[in-house]
Symmetry: C2
Amino acid sequence: MIPNERKDVQALIDRLRAGDARSVSRLITLVENQAPEKAQVMASLFPYTGRAIIAGITGSPGVGKSSLTDRLIAHARDKGLTVGIIAVDPSSPFSGGAILGDRIRMQSRSTDPGVFIRSMASRGHLGGLSIATRDAARILDAFGKDVIIIETIGVGQSELAIAQEAQTTILVLAPGTGDSIQMMKAGIMEIGDIFVVNKADREGADQTVMEVETMLMLESSKNGWRPPVIKTQAVSGAGVEELWSQIEAHGRFLSEGEVGRARRRGQLRDEMVEILTERLKNDIWHKASQGRAMEDLLDSVEQKELDPYSAAGRLMELIH
Amino acid sequence: MIPNERKDVQALIDRLRAGDARSVSRLITLVENQAPEKAQVMASLFPYTGRAIIAGITGSPGVGKSSLTDRLIAHARDKGLTVGIIAVDPSSPFSGGAILGDRIRMQSRSTDPGVFIRSMASRGHLGGLSIATRDAARILDAFGKDVIIIETIGVGQSELAIAQEAQTTILVLAPGTGDSIQMMKAGIMEIGDIFVVNKADREGADQTVMEVETMLMLESSKNGWRPPVIKTQAVSGAGVEELWSQIEAHGRFLSEGEVGRARRRGQLRDEMVEILTERLKNDIWHKASQGRAMEDLLDSVEQKELDPYSAAGRLMELIH
């Protein structure tokens, strides 16, 4: 990196720390685009992170994640806290109009300077989106936001991975959708730190709560944290206060005990391996694109003298 | 690998080559589970691959992908060709009942020994599913299936990546869903080799065809291949014959010209880098879990003396 670029990044970070919202946008775009300055940005920001509450909200389409997020924003704002929202859509190509509507509804919050909203979508590598989401949350943390909410569209494998970048993962269900049974089958109960049954005025809400509680009893306890199941009505705001208390309680659980520490260390370990893997991959591309090695190997594979796995082994020997 | 395991894998491959369907299932499970024998299996199979037509079918839920796949199977069987189907669901946790219904409907084909159907879902790493799908297609190719169809549920980023493992990617749309506009916005027109407007008896079918054709004119031509737009009715079978001809035409285009060769080489190059990255990642985990290096680095990050990016750099120096 040339000295000027280093200076530019530092200036951007200084402005961020001084409260300039445009710097936030620019820095998030920078990590999203995997700009060469990314590592420097994240390294410089790191000392200012670790203060915010970071919650991930996930669940099937239509369960009311966006309305619930909106209620949580209002609740946090009433308490005088500032909020950052990262709305992540890993399957953006065909997300359709409903989601756009949600977004526009949430954008109404963006006239409040205490709320910062950013959408992120994946055009390329999904693993990359998960890393970018985590980095964006750190940028908002360093910016000084008290509460950061990562909201995902849908609840596929990629959404689960993204929601787990948060400290506290909230799984939202609605009565009568059969989601809880599906979750049990897929064995993903363990990712939820807090379960929310939204649209609690609907028929079957109590049954859904019971289903989830039964499943939680079948699961091994999360090392001392028993995930609560909360009924909410995002439309009226009922249950949102309890949800907020539980988010805070889980935050305290994470920061105070040995279990929380182990979990944070586990996340950091995953992150380091991920960063290193990404770096080595770029390294492979770079080295393989120089010289004839890759082309020669492709010739051999094309002529069926070599299979792709053996060719990859040869490539490793050549560029290591 | 101990000699016995090597012998077992070879026996499994011999039985596969002799037409034993149970060996196919066992070999696909083996690659799906990332078994240690995986590289040996794929290396041993590789010489027998490259003969089948491999098509990927993707599109939003409800456009009729499964019905269309069913029609294609019938068409291929009428021509005396054998068929392998890989039904991939990357977002399985919440896929719900409708998909199960589709699957059951397709299973009715499984009484035909000329048809092999396999479902694949991702519980773990998404990148892994994409690799496993490609390997499964190769196994079916080596098994001797003439036509292999990779059908994905939904059309998120992960589905697109999976559908692109095929030689020919078919994008299915339905009239009046707004999908074509969404596609254009997301800039994913380029992934389709063939466009299908299914449910062509519905109002708006001609308009959807026109929209897609207009968009294709705006895109740069795919190096000599102009993606056709075909109207089908999966229910009556109308248009399926034309779709089949276009799949064959695209196959010829790929195998005969320089463009097709470049594309195959590009796919192979990606595959080698992917295999290598996966291998290095496992290597990192293995080395990092030995000794104190990782724990010491985590201590430093926890105490904010070091950020994760710098720590990853140190880890690389230590284990390289």
